[in-house]
């Protein structure tokens, strides 16, 4: 799947998750706020009620006796609550710690002034609800402190539950978005893989029209495009085949006639012989030119789909060198690993190699060194000659057709078709590789480097990539 479809899918998923987050955020915080107010209000009301009831007990007790401690002991029933009484200017409490000091001043003043009051305070980390009730009949003030720990815990539990629910909803929404977007984007993924198959040379690929009218028109356009490409390629390879036939027939006559004459060359008068030599050389050049042109045309039309087959590259190199390099002293350096068959496009490899060797012979004063090695997932071929090298600004152009460099416009007296390196470049490209030229390390000549993808060894389970178009 390409990064573009993943991006779209990611965006859909993110939108779903974000929507869920927003919705649940609003809903969750409303629920929380509502339950907060409801619970706090109810609890406070009941605590105030309890404080009044307790204050009444204190009042009755104080009216009957002078002893304060006894009723306070009785009062100490609400768990976590503390009662304090200020009576005749003195503080009385159930515990020493609770005596007086913890009652906030503002609250005390209100109660002293005769009005009941309550306040929320933080008592050394414990949320506390303080209720003050004036007990005027006996000239006392009654304070009761309730811990709100329980309530806080309840609220926290609600909040946590809401947040967990929210997180779950976001994840669920994300999952739904992911699944949904995959379904929605499946046609896009189908398009992508179909386009890739076409690019890889499978022109039989067509998209099913499908039910959706929007997608159907897209699929129809795609299929139409592939039809056009297929027709065009068929037309081109038919042209190559026709041209091939039309050119080869007269060339066959020419070449054969030249051979017949060649056998009688010595019988020719001097001037006729000189003319014949010219004729013969040009016919041979023409023959090479036509062969190379047709090969290039066929390679470009993809008529000859190269398939990887098991090849002993050491043997192949030795044979090509023996045939193409003639009698020169050549250093051939082939990695021993090529003694085992590897998967390669034998025909193209042979064409690449022999064209490079011929090029070294015609333009580089002969092949000097040739090496073949494996570098990771690439196969690297180096062809080194002893010629003048290739100037920087011509290193791209040498791979173009009929490039003649400094000799432009002048037809070399030699023998090259001017297509050898263009053929090399085309075959390398068709094999998914790279070719370039650089200076030799010692600067005395050119080094042509070909890197081809490593297709693997036969029978190792490595997929055989059919290197095509």
């Amino acid at each position: 799947m390409t990064s573009r479809t993943r991006g779209l899918r990611f965006r859909v998923t993110a939108a779903f998750a974000l929507g869920a987050l927003l919705l649940f955020g609003i809903l969750g915080s409303s629920v929380y706020l509502f339950s907060y107010h409801y619970l706090v209000e109810q609890r406070e009301r009941s605590l105030v009620g309890q404080a009044y009831a307790d204050a009444r007990v204190v009042r009755d007790t104080l009216a009957r006796s002078d002893e304060v401690k006894e009723p306070l002991a009785i009062l100490d029933r609400v768990p976590g609550s503390n009662a304090v009484v200020r009576w005749r200017g003195r503080w009385f409490g159930t515990t020493v710690a609770s005596a007086g000091a913890t009652v906030p001043d503002g609250l005390r003043r209100l109660v002293e002034a005769g009005s009941p009051a309550h306040q929320r305070i933080d008592r050394s980390g414990v949320p506390t609800f303080v209720v003050g009730v004036p007990v005027d009949e006996v000239g006392a003030e009654y304070y009761e402190m309730f811990s709100l720990l329980e309530l806080d815990r309840t609220l926290r539990t609600i909040r946590n539950a809401l947040m967990a629910g929210g997180a779950l909803a976001v994840v669920m929404a994300g999952l739904i978005g992911w699944t949904l977007s995959r379904r929605v984007l499946r046609p896009v993924a189908d398009f992508a893989s179909a386009a890739e198959r076409v690019a890889a040379g499978d022109l039989e690929t067509r998209l099913a029209p499908g039910a959706d009218p929007d997608l159907a028109s897209l699929a129809a356009s795609f299929n139409h495009m592939v039809d056009a490409v297929e027709r065009r390629i068929a037309r081109e390879s038919r042209f190559v085949a026709d041209a091939s036939h039309e050119l080869r027939s007269p060339l066959t006559t020419l070449a054969t006639a030249v051979e017949v004459m060649e056998a009688r060359r010595d019988e020719l008068p001097d001037r006729a012989r000189r003319a014949f030599d010219l004729l013969r050389d040009e016919v041979r050049l023409l023959q090479r030119l036509v062969e190379d042109l047709l090969e290039l045309g066929a390679a470009e039309a993809g008529a000859e789909a190269g398939a990887a087959e098991p090849v002993r590259l050491d043997e192949l190199v030795a044979n090509v060198v023996a045939r193409s390099a003639g009698a020169q002293a050549v250093t051939v350096d082939v990695d021993p690993c090529f003694g085992e068959p590897v998967l390669a496009d034998k025909r193209r490899f042979e064409r690449i190699l022999s064209n490079l060797i011929v090029n070294a012979g015609t333009h580089g004063r002969g092949l000097e060194r040739l090496s073949l090695e494996r570098r990771g997932d690439r196969l690297r071929l180096e062809v080194v000659d002893g010629g003048p090298g290739v100037p920087d600004d011509e290193r791209q152009a040498v791979f173009e057709r009929f490039f003649r460099g400094a000799a432009a416009g002048r037809r070399a007296s030699s023998t090259g078709s001017g297509l050898g390196l263009a053929l090399v470049a085309e075959h390398v490209r068709r094999n998914g590789g790279r070719v370039w030229v650089e200076d030799r390390d010692d600067g005395a000549g050119a080094r042509f480097v070909v890197e081809l993808p490593w297709a693997g060894e036969p029978g190792t389970g490595i997929a055989r990539p059919e290197v095509r178009a």
Binding site: A241, T252, L254, A255, A257, R323
Partner: protein, 247 residues
């Protein structure tokens, strides 16, 4: 002096006869000149129909068939010739791709050349074919003929000296090339022969011969000698290496 010339002298009176089936009159004319230089007698046919007619009437040692003919195609000519005889057939193609080469070989051709061919090369192909064909006639002069005692594998019995192959006791109609290919495999039974080795030993090619030549002939051979050609049990493919005859 080349081998063909030697062969011609040995036959003394009758030079070997080549039937050239080619619709282009200029190519036919130069081909005649060139092949006569090589010591052959040349019969010309400008269409498949006249080629078949000539072949039925005249004695022909080798047939050259251009695949692109008006009317009856080269493939049909090859198929018809093959139905009637095991005369060596070389197909000539002007196409760059190899589909029609393979199709021609499947139809029964022994070898192929591409236009524009070099006559020396064509002559070498013809010589190699004739050597095979004459060798199989089994005379004492058959130097390159495979000899040796009969070999039996499965239901197939190969008798190199007689030049016959029998399956379940019945004689099989193999072309000379198929016969030589089988002899080569039988001689090295149990060993793997690469396509390159077979090209060199059977067809006389160097390393750069077309491997499809071997593959096409192996396929044809299998349809004749195997019980189930789609599941070959006698001539097996050794992936990445070549072919092997299982005893």
């Amino acid at each position: 002096m080349n081998d063909a010339a030697v062969a011609v002298i040995m036959d003394a009176v009758a030079p070997l006869r080549i039937l050239a089936v080619e619709d282009d009159p200029r190519i036919r004319a130069t081909l005649r000149l060139a092949l006569e230089d090589e010591g052959y007698a040349v019969l010309e046919a400008d269409s498949g129909e006249s080629a078949l007619e000539l072949h039925s009437r005249e004695d022909v040692d080798v047939v050259l068939v251009d695949l692109m003919l008006p009317g009856m195609t080269g493939f049909e000519v090859v198929r018809e010739l093959r139905r009637a005889s095991d005369v060596p057939i070389v197909i000539v193609t002007a196409r760059t791709d190899s589909h029609d080469v393979v199709a021609g070989l499947e139809a029964g051709a022994d070898d192929y050349v591409r236009k524009p061919f070099v006559v020396k090369e064509l002559a070498a192909r013809i010589r190699s074919l004739i050597r095979r064909s004459r060798g199989s006639e089994g005379g004492p002069d058959a130097g390159s003929s495979p000899g040796g005692p009969p070999v039996v594998f499965g239901a197939v019995e190969l008798s190199p000296a007689e030049g016959v192959v029998r399956r379940h006791g019945e004689e099989l109609a193999l072309t000379r090339t198929e016969f030589h290919l089988l002899c080569e495999l039988a001689e090295n039974a149990g060993l793997v022969l690469s396509r390159e080795q077979l090209l060199e030993r059977v067809w006389g090619y160097d390393y750069f011969g077309e491997a499809r030549l071997v593959d096409a002939h192996i396929r044809r051979l299998r349809t004749k000698i195997e019980e189930d050609p789609s599941e070959p049990a006698l001539i097996v493919t050794v992936r990445g290496l070549g072919y092997k005859l299982v005893r």
